[in-house]
Symmetry: C2
Amino acid sequence: MDEQPVNIATALASFDEHWSPKIIAALNGQHVKLAKFQGEFVWHAHHDADELFLVLEGEFTMEFRDRAVPVRKGELIVVHRGIEHRPVAAQECSVLLFEPAGTVSTGDASNDDRSSEGEWISE
Amino acid sequence: MDEQPVNIATALASFDEHWSPKIIAALNGQHVKLAKFQGEFVWHAHHDADELFLVLEGEFTMEFRDRAVPVRKGELIVVHRGIEHRPVAAQECSVLLFEPAGTVSTGDASNDDRSSEGEWISE
């Protein structure tokens, strides 16, 4: 719990997997994660967690059931609990996530084999 | 609560004040804020809130009672509850903050005239 800076670029460079969130910080019961998106994720919702997505590199589209929202480098979007969504990235996109600790990436679609609560990254 | 992207650069360009956090998003009882640091802030601690500082532009030094930690663009640091700290920026530095909604910037030094819970920014 010692206060040390985390370099985001170094942490991003330490993994290649898509849809495999890495935890880089914890505070107030929340986790900060890094993830790389490429391709289509699964439709899902989180019934008890709001999620923030901040694009670090590239861009992705957040699909909702009634519309699709592009989220570009330097933009963030919050998806509130209960809202069905599906991130889709035509090219690889690096994203910082804020969400409650223990949030499973696939929410109520937990039979998807990409389900993950994230794992701590060691720089 | 409609899911819309927030452009961080646009939000940063909309204000000039130092030590005056602007709220850009809310989730899970937490606020995401933007702030510009320049000069020395006040020594303080938050007894019930951990705080995350992510440097967007420039750099600052997070002073603790026993050491000083530089935090540069692209780095983040978490200051846990109860830890006395003081951010100091030799030049202007833009920072994204993540902390519980209602966290006062000056913590237990609330007689400082820069005390603020942040105010919502309108893009």
